[in-house]
Symmetry: C3
Subunit: 332 residues, 3 copies
């Protein structure tokens, strides 16, 4: 299905054997292959249509249990996973750290082992510690999806970003992608750098010197210290959220100064290519890293990213939890 029902090419490639997901988890973009990314994006394309139906629900994961285990506050990511699971007819359980045994001092591993003992079919985890999802995945048989781990990776964000660019431009290879802002602390940046490079794009990053990760050149990206260097060449401009608390950490002098140097506004946009895509993972600081005119303007695909997030997460849940069931695939 995944390969065969992409938008526009319904069934003509059905001679190719249906692809399956071989791995157990989705922990990071760094760990997965180009073929796996393509499988996810193709599957997401076929699921995107479900959310446009009158009855936005398929029985694919009926009787399955998806646990959203969130150790950091989140609206959009948790809601996106919850909606994705429900549109697949899975049951969802939300656990947030504040109401959990974390209060009682239980270890992450014990919490996870206990949840696994209740026989869920997937655990989606967000945690402030890099590597937390990987630790769980090693110790558990149940599939684990990383919904953001510290400053490390946010793979489902990168996959929805790849999906959005591929959908809007039609390809990923040889595109020039600019990622702008606090690269050092951004799991979104890290996952997107791995993802776009894997898919053959050329990645340029720009931000304050204080926010440049030591390993950035080793990742294969081009580093710029000025926004004006990347704007004219970019096919895609991804603005990162600036964490206001970084100012206290001394990473930048003032919000006004940051905005003057790295904020995307209409004036800066004058130098951009026609048809450039403007992206932001949200939540936005309007007037800081992006001006309202640009965020709501004709080149912005920021809300498309959100819409596509549901489709990508439906695809991942399907591939990890229900992908192996040939009989269930027909029910899509």
């Amino acid at each position: 299905m995944a390969e065969n029902q992409g938008r526009g090419t319904p069934r003509e490639v059905s001679q190719k054997p249906p692809q399956r997901w071989a791995g157990k988890d989705i922990l990071g973009i760094q760990e997965i292959s180009v073929a796996e990314i393509e499988l996810i994006l193709d599957t997401a394309a076929s699921f995107k249509e479900v959310s446009t139906r009158e009855i936005k629900k398929v029985p694919t994961l009926r009787g399955k249990t998806v646990i959203n285990l969130f150790y950091e506050a989140s609206t959009r990511t948790r809601t996106s996973f919850e909606i994705a699971a429900k549109r697949l007819s899975a049951d969802t359980i939300n656990i947030s750290a504040s109401s959990s045994s974390v209060v009682k001092g239980e270890t992450l591993i014990d919490t996870a082992k206990n949840l696994e003992a209740m026989k869920p079919d997937c655990i989606v985890i967000r945690h402030s510690a890099a590597g937390a999802p990987h630790l769980l995945a090693r110790l558990m048989d149940v599939p684990v999806i990383n919904a953001g781990d510290g400053a490390h990776e946010h793979p489902t964000q990168a996959l929805l970003d790849l999906f959005t660019v591929r959908e809007k431009i039609g390809r990923l290879a040889s595109l020039k992608v600019a990622i702008v802002g606090d690269i050092l602390h951004s799991r979104v940046a890290r996952s997107n750098i791995w993802g776009f490079i894997k898919m053959g794009a050329e990645v340029h990053v720009a931000g304050p010197r204080t926010m440049k990760p030591a390993e950035v050149e080793r990742m294969g990206v081009h580093w710029h210290t000025s926004l004006s260097e990347v704007i004219p060449i970019a096919d895609v401009i991804m603005m990162l959220r600036i964490q206001l608390e970084r100012q206290e950490g001394g990473f930048f002098p003032t919000l006004r100064e940051y905005s003057r140097l790295f904020g995307l506004n209409m004036e800066v946009m004058m130098a951009a290519k026609p048809g450039v895509l403007i992206m932001h993972p949200g939540p936005m600081n309007r007037g800081v890293e992006i001006s309202p005119e640009v965020a709501d303007g004709p080149f912005s695909v920021i809300l498309d990213q959100v819409t596509n997030g549901v489709a990508v997460r439906m695809a991942l849940l399907y591939l990890l939890v229900g992908g192996e069931k040939e009989s269930e695939r027909s029910s899509l």
Copy 2:
């Protein structure tokens, strides 16, 4: 169905064409017409029966997504909406401000736009700012239900109150309704004043002078500064919750003083009409604005209000989300 299956009059008026809901949202009682209120109450009457069934569920909104976006704490209203949605087979997503991107400083509009991008079918919002639901409704295509906005309106509360009075007394026109307490800060009072007046009732309000809104006479109600003036004439007495924090604001001297002047107890009830209905939107301060003997007494319909709240909210979700689907109506 709505008009035709009122309790006691199952089908005999089926010659009248089925009514439809024309608007997109439910923002306030002030904005809706008498015919619309009647449509809602009639529809609620037919849904009330569902909660008495062995299997309390109809497939009407299967595959629809209802988001409860609550910026203020709430048990009864959020639970009532959630139960209403689930009894219609909709999927529900709960978002409370404490666990949301509000923490990250995102604007209300961006939060709502992001939620809309996930393709929900209805957003139920409670917010401390008057007008917040109206702002969202203007910016979004998805239906919005106001579950309480600041001191402005709480339309679903007024609708369930109208429903309860009509159910118990059989009509609304020409009834004398007394609303007692902190009129100034009460969205419940404001919505009920609009609602009862629209439906032809005569509304009397009583409370401390400090809690009299400037516009109250312009709303068409009769203002009283003494409880003893309204008790003998009222067919319905609605006691408002006194917010304990108002004492610090200097709106009344002490709880004891407030209770002595505006509390409803058995002694005060001696002057009431036989068959008077005692209402309270909850949560009650027992022994302050209402004595336990009255709250739990034979004239109290306080728990009927809660029961009817589920039916009214089912009706609203049905009318806004699923009302236009003739084919689905037969599945009720």
Copy 3:
């Protein structure tokens, strides 16, 4: 079904009339009979299989509403009840104290009465006050399940512990069960003492003198002040969680001292019987009351307890909410 479809003995005892649950609530082990406990355990045995299916869901409680009303933070118990309800196809509503009308000062009784007015089919309550569930059960027609009340009882924990021991050893009668730790403050200990004694086991408790309840001998248990006295004779060793905040209360001098005297580690285990079962209700303080080697070792059934918790809670919900419906039993 309960008696007749136990694992291994599918139908051969069908001449016995099917058992029904006579009571309305599950408030404590102290109140229920041996026959009732057996009915629950037998029913749980038949439900345990559901969680091993490809589609882990039965339609038994479709259209029923289960409210989880938690006044204390909880991951495992709330999640276990929520999963149990969903696997029976019930709708679940979660209410936690922090987001509830508790904030507004409403009484527990009014909160419960209001919830009941929304026509749920079961209320699961955890509360810091002993007796809170009993109070609700007396005032409401809806079934109430005690999910932990103060230091009083945690009956569903005891039932899953009884289930686990019966499953692993094959019987409960005449077993020697050691419960170790803070007996005084433990609702888990209290419920398990009642439960194991009712089922014919011999209960030995060990802990610091400061944590010995006054009534412990009256409960029919053997009191020990040294761990070394109970280890060699026990068929089952249940370690209790030590609440770290008890140290401030002066109940024990230091964690190290507590652990030295009452912690279960490999050295202490040398004196245990072969085949002894090691239990813990969780969450564990690893390295305090139990060492990681023991918690994760071959005699530990700690994760089995969690798995069985879902089955036991499915059984309780079935018996209390859906047990009387002969027609629905066939749908299991």
